[in-house]
Symmetry: C2
């Protein structure tokens, strides 16, 4: 059995694990803060150290290479990060630099693509041909797996599902556009919507969760208050479900997939999110298309990107999974 190291480079955390060729196990799973502000070379060194730690923990397994997932836009063929605002990298030859440092061959793909490919390989979308997914965190990424292949488009930029306009005259998004899904349903956008409501006088126990410092309200705090029964927090979650429902209905009308998988912190909201989300999709999407599609939370919490990055290496090197 061969093993591949999967590397998931996030704006906040690095996650690395050594993945068996058949996906049956992940060894030496390690994580550290990215500390992007220390510069690309320092991040690269920290990644290389994590990879060595993971390989050591895998104890003598045959390591075939490394699969890297990173925020884009990327040039996947050349292994270059073209630009990542979160990491501050421009035209950075990430794959070859890391390959060189480790003495192992590597591949590079987009982080959201990797997460959804991971869920397709070993997670919530296992066994389905056409899978579209959202990764909801600081931003909203998207991954598209068609006929079991990651779809990259003409220049590796396909799948920017978070920047789908669902309200063309709506909230301003960080990307400069108006009414993007991300402007409503990313973690920070969910928090911002809640704070706006509180500032406008909504009755809620949310301030008590953050010692009255509204700047500390995060999406996670809102899910907690919602689970505790706070009516306003539930309303915020419900509004999030409606907005996501419009986005997921679009995905279903466009792609007619078997599975839409939703990954990230938002899954913590559980049924309070997924029940109204599914009902909004049912209301909006074409019936035969929504009937053909499951809408599920990701299963590989924290490891989808590692599984998927390793799987990309395996696919490009060996032709499977």
């Amino acid at each position: 059995m061969r093993y591949v190291v999967g590397i998931d480079i996030g704006g906040t955390n690095l996650v690395v694990g050594t993945v068996a060729e058949d996906g049956s196990e992940i060894l030496g799973l390690v994580s550290e803060p990215t500390l992007a502000e220390r510069g690309a070379d320092a991040v690269l060194e920290r990644i290389a150290k994590l990879v060595r730690t993971s390989i050591a923990a895998a104890r003598g397994k045959e390591i075939a290479g490394v699969g890297i997932g990173a925020p884009g836009p990327l040039d996947t063929a050349r292994g270059v990060v073209l630009l990542t605002p979160n990491l501050g990298w421009t035209n950075f030859p990430l794959r070859d630099r890391l390959s060189g440092a480790l003495g192992l061959p590597g591949t590079l793909d987009n982080d959201a693509n990797c997460a959804i490919f991971g869920e397709w390989w070993r997670g919530a979308a296992r066994g389905s041909n056409h899978v579209v997914g959202l990764t909801i965190g600081t931003g909203i990424g998207g991954g598209i797996v068609l006929d079991g292949e990651i779809y990259h488009g003409a220049s590796d930029i396909a799948g920017e599902l978070g920047h789908m306009t669902i309200d063309s005259t709506g909230r301003r998004c960080k990307c400069g556009n108006y009414g993007c899904l991300e402007a409503y349903a990313s973690g920070p956008a969910i928090a911002a919507r809640a704070v706006e409501g509180i500032e406008a006088g909504a009755e809620t126990s949310l301030p008590a969760y953050v010692q009255d410092d509204l700047s500390k309200i995060t999406a996670q705090v809102i899910y907690e208050a919602s689970h505790d029964g706070d009516a306003y927090a539930r309303e915020v979650v419900h509004d999030t479900a409606k907005v996501l429902g419009a986005g997921v209905a679009n995905i279903i009308n466009i792609f007619n997939p078997q599975v839409v998988v939703i990954c990230g912190g938002v899954t913590l909201a559980g049924d309070q999110l997924f029940v109204p989300l599914r009902s909004e999709v049912k209301r909006r999407a074409f019936k035969p298309a929504s009937a053909a599609c499951r809408i599920v939370p990701g299963e590989l919490t924290g490891t989808a990107g590692v599984y998927g990055a390793a799987a990309v290496f395996m696919r490009r090197t060996w032709g499977s999974p």
Copy 2:
């Protein structure tokens, strides 16, 4: 050289032509009103008659089969029209009925898929790998060609791009959803928006084009008034461009295609539509994705669906184009 009869079944018109295997010519192009209200059998007879007329006009060419394009949803593998509100057909075995009547093998695919496949093969998107298109008429259809293949999704429903929500609380669409692209930018929706403005007091010469019978205002009348310099008609076209721009920007962010091709009557508006449309897309879409993509009107006016339906037959039977 072999020939294939392409059949484009629309809610209003039937178009049939005999297409050369290399796409170099279309012979015996004939058209008739669909007259769907006379029932499926009558429409089938009329189509068979048109096919025989077209084959006769092609004078002794070797006819390999018929490619049929029809509104969906369809079951393309079984050649069955599941449901077409415009034609009133339900679970109608169109391919086999027509094949049987003509003594020729046949294939069935969605009409919008065929139109965009036609533009990919012989029209405005020739030579591009990833092409997404809109067919704008009574409704808005979509076709997705990825890696030179029509993308059908899990159950043949993919590509319902007209029912992409761009304003989640916006205009009610015939599909039951709110804020679909089709609810703003189909031919009848463009006319309805113009009439609403006139009824609200807009100053315009449009009523003069229809003898003051506002129910006679069509999108085509609006393009005509716009070309004649009517400021309000220009505003309606401009608003259409902005709405289409939001939809096309979504398509570009999602698919990162080389070409977005826009077919149908709306292309009559010419630069008055396409110039603001392209600028709206530029404002909304990710720069590297919009820079990689041409937005063009279809070139095969009236014949895209015929070319594409024939090409679908050729592809499934001979593996190309």
